[in-house]
């Protein structure tokens, strides 16, 4: 059952979702680099991970969509912002938290829609198998448009 837009209100702002952890394996990083067009010979350091790899770490967002009853096909990606504080690379263990920071209903040309912003904060907890105090590596703000299911 797809989400009814009337259930997506400003009262959701501030809702936080459980933390997820991600181990960046070399294979995963290579798959991503390949998908965005890097050739292996371009990368001297195999542990190099492009910053937008962080887009792969969206389990928190998918979890939020499921909890809110939002079907993926209801979503359009409107905008994306990143702040990168520290580099990350394969062999790192990252954690992420997700929070709803904006909900705004609008009426567009194609009907009712709801704009939602999700803030994700990413921290590195382990590098090369060595645990350490969490270090914030990046923040992302994902802006989506939720439309009625058809």
């Amino acid at each position: 059952m797809a989400a009814q837009l009337t259930t997506l209100t400003a009262e959701l702002v501030g809702r936080r979702y459980p933390e997820f952890k991600f181990f960046i394996s070399e294979t995963w990083a290579q798959d991503f680099k390949h998908a965005i067009g890097y050739s292996l010979k371009q990368i001297e350091d195999p542990s190099f991970v492009p910053p937008t790899f962080i887009a792969c770490l969206r389990d928190g967002n998918f979890n939020a969509f499921a909890e809110l009853g939002i079907e993926l096909s209801q979503l359009l990606h409107a905008g994306q912002s990143y702040r990168f504080y520290e580099s990350f690379r394969s062999g790192d263990l990252l954690s992420s938290t997700t929070e709803i920071v904006r909900v705004l209903a609008k009426k567009g040309k194609t009907g009712e829609m709801v704009f939602m912003d999700f803030l994700n904060v990413f921290s590195r907890e382990e590098r090369g198998g060595e645990r350490h105090e969490p270090v914030k590596v990046a923040e992302s703000l994902m802006s989506v448009v939720v439309r009625n299911s058809r």
């Binding site: 998908a35 067009g37 389990d59 990606h77 409107a78 994306q80 990168f84 194609t110 058809r150």
Partner: protein, 142 residues
């Protein structure tokens, strides 16, 4: 003030970093596999059309990935040691399978330790699909 020193000139009005890349279903499948984003509008034409879209559309983050790669390669050639710090993108129009995309860059500001760049991803040579501002910070020797 000493500016970031570039190995090659990058201050021309607008540079083409990537030109005429054809978007294929294979690209979308590979991106879905790597990113875990299996929104049906990226692989199911019927579902995409049912949602009022013209057909299967590419992941916005795939376009941003191409822009990330183009910028990173440009920085790598121009001034090794630059690291992406801010990346802000607005998805203006949809990119579909069969579109050809190009990425351009325009240097906005160049200080002693960072540079600001305006990036655009165009489709089919004309229509702007993604507009992006980026700041790269110098973290190593130039």
């Amino acid at each position: 003030m000493k500016f970031v020193q570039f190995n090659s000139p990058i201050d021309s009005p607008e540079q083409i970093l990537l030109e005429g890349l054809l978007i294929t279903p294979e690209m979308l499948r590979e991106y879905a596999w790597a990113s875990g984003d299996y929104n049906p509008i990226h692989y199911n034409e019927e579902r995409a059309k049912a949602m009022g879209l013209p057909g299967i559309i590419a992941h916005g983050m795939l376009s941003l990935g191409f822009m990330n790669r183009a910028l990173e390669e440009w920085c790598r050639k121009a001034a090794p040691g630059l690291r992406l710090e801010n990346f802000d993108a607005k998805f203006v129009s949809m990119v579909s399978v069969g579109d050809r995309v190009s990425v351009t860059a325009r240097l906005q500001q160049n200080s002693s330790a960072s540079l600001d760049v305006q990036l655009y991803l165009y489709k089919n040579g004309e229509r702007e699909a993604v507009a992006c501002t980026a700041t790269a910070q110098l973290v190593g020797d130039t």
